[in-house]
Amino acid sequence: MATTAAAPPYVATREASNTGLWSWITTVDHKRIGALYLVTALIFFLIGGIEAEIIRLQLMQPNGTVVSAYTYNELFTMHGTTMIFLAVMPLSAAFFNFLVPLQIGARDVAFPRLNAFSYWVFLFGGLFINASWLLHAAPDGGWFGYAPLTTMQFNPGLNIDFWVLGIQILGVSSLAAAFNFITTIINMRAPGMQLMRMPMFTWMAFIVQFLLILAFPVITIALVFLQFDRFFGTQFYELAAGADPLLWQHLFWIFGHPEVYILILPAFGLVSEVLPTFSGKPLFGYPVMVYSGMLIAFLGFGVWAHHMFAVGMGPIADSVFGVTTLLIGIPTGVKIFNWIFTMWGGNVRFTVAAKFAIALIALFTIGGISGVMHASPPADLQQTDSYFVVAHFHYVLFGGSMMGIFAGIYYYYPKITGRLMSEKLGNWHFWLTFIGMNLTFFPMHFSGLAGMPRRIYRYDAGQGFTTYNEISSWGAYILAVATLFFVWNFVRSRKRGAVAGHNPWNAPSLEWSIPSPPPDYNYAVIPTVSSRYPLWDHKGAVVEFHEGEPIKTARELGIPMPFPTIKPLFTALFMTLMFTGLLFIHKNNWPMAYTFMFGGAAGMVASLYSWLLSPLE
């Protein structure tokens, strides 16, 4: 997606007005795009949370009557899809956007407009997939969309069309962002910022981008097959034509397992920033943390079939995938111990951010241990498709990813907004989340082992699941209350939080040397780095900002800033419209289908050319 045409020579230093709606929809500033990602993803997180609450309401009593089976299928599918693709991934992307350029001492990402494009594609993709609710045709095939169950024969409605196209759109966003961040991290580090001096979050972000560029093409192709089967009558998943029912599963999990690490590694990175700061000690075993991250990512491509032990792949495949899965436990365990050793002997300050980070260590470990249990094919045969698995992945995704992301939000909120979040409300949020999360998901281990299958909308009173489900539902309601505390804290601190100053936590990395919130150009002078913890070691040419110092504008400093532009938004919009056209095929409305597809494609190409042929700054 690189520029294909040389831009005309540098014209003039122009400053963007930085308030108002127009400034937000035309922004190419990585910090603002990060903020957009953060707020949008949090809204999707709330939507996914409401879906979860309805699920828990339905399951609270035997033979629940809150929703129908059809709606229930929509709810659990959209809960999973929303939380994975519209909440956790973009929340991580919010931090990639906001933090990576700051942490490596850069003024922006390598391709600022491509960055804006990624955000808009994400937003439109999220709206597209959720628009299905308006037609009461939300995706209902599970977040994994197993074909042939999702082919026309078994699922003729628009539900799966929305899902297939929505995931396809969101994939474009993730891929575009990944190429951008790979280039940024390789090429835009400040002088002296060697790879092994990069903050751990940037390292984990770097690794995740490679997972993204290698995993997403595979799901893209699996979805293309499904799309072609549904829209054009190909036979990829047509069993009568000799197709293999495992093709989708293999392709999906070749993507799906690296996706798990795409979801967790950014949270690991955030925790690796939070814990050293609040322990007042450097991260224990920095190089090992880097290498274990790489090893997790690399092994992550060789374990996919452990999601498929139940299909009967034979002893050789089962053994190989079982062993590689067990191996992945080693680098993950290394990380757990390194965080503990980071705190060991430190002067730990138990702020809300630190509490969330410590909670990640504990809760992720529980999820990790049940994960190792699944690595053994015989054990997995008992657990697969039961609530035990639901307990497992909520411990790693809620107990892991979300706890890490909450830690990151509390830790970086002052850098993003200039104000601290309330510790008091934060403590309410933390403890209610911690209690609610364990109440919700711990009993699922037992209901699962007692035989309760996933994705059922009802169970009978005599099956022995009632008590566990009741506890789980009460836990979920506590989580809802906890989230209200968070939302209130997030909103009110924006205007009423205590003024933070540039380094409220006495943190060591570069982003804390500049004002909060940072000026649009980030660094008035690009720092020269000579250690991993520049603000603690006081080495290198890192000038720390002094409170009260006037903050100069980019124009005063003569720093050329990229022009704001609406073109990436249009490109994203037309692309989404192009995909929307396919929906009309199933309504046999060909004029509309052609109008949207060709109109969208033409609009996309036109705005892309206009974007690439106009100067950046």
Binding site: I186, P191, Q194, H250, A305
Partner: protein
């Protein structure tokens, strides 16, 4: 990682001086490569039409080796990986290896490359 040091950051020309980025080859090299590629392609098509060779055990391995050779030649000479920065080599070969291992693993899993115990 020499290219990461602060000194290298200052000037681009240092890299060239250090020999990390060699000059791209000349026209004559490109023509020679084209001739070799054509010959290999001709060879591939030729053996396709030898029934006795097609029936033998060497047919598939030979074709795979020939196309791998063509692949490597294009990547090394036309895509300049032989001459360019080693970073590009890493960005390409890493994913390529994962992609090839994935193909082979899938063929095993679907029984096209069965391991025969006997």
């Amino acid at each position: 990682m020499a290219h990461d040091s602060a000194a290298d950051h200052v000037t681009h020309s240092d890299h060239v001086a250090m020999g990390e980025v060699k000059e791209h080859p000349t026209w004559s090299t490109y023509w020679k490569v084209a001739v070799i590629l054509t010959l290999i392609t001709a060879c591939e098509v030729w053996i396709y039409y030898i029934p006795s060779f097609v029936a033998g055990h060497l047919f598939v391995p030979t074709l795979l080796i020939l196309s791998a050779a063509k692949f490597a030649i294009v990547v090394m000479f036309y895509m300049h990986l032989r001459y360019d920065h080693k970073l590009f080599r890493a960005l390409f070969t890493g994913p390529l290896i994962i992609a090839m291992v994935t193909i082979v693993a899938l063929l095993f899993l679907f029984g096209h490359l069965a391991i025969h115990a006997t």
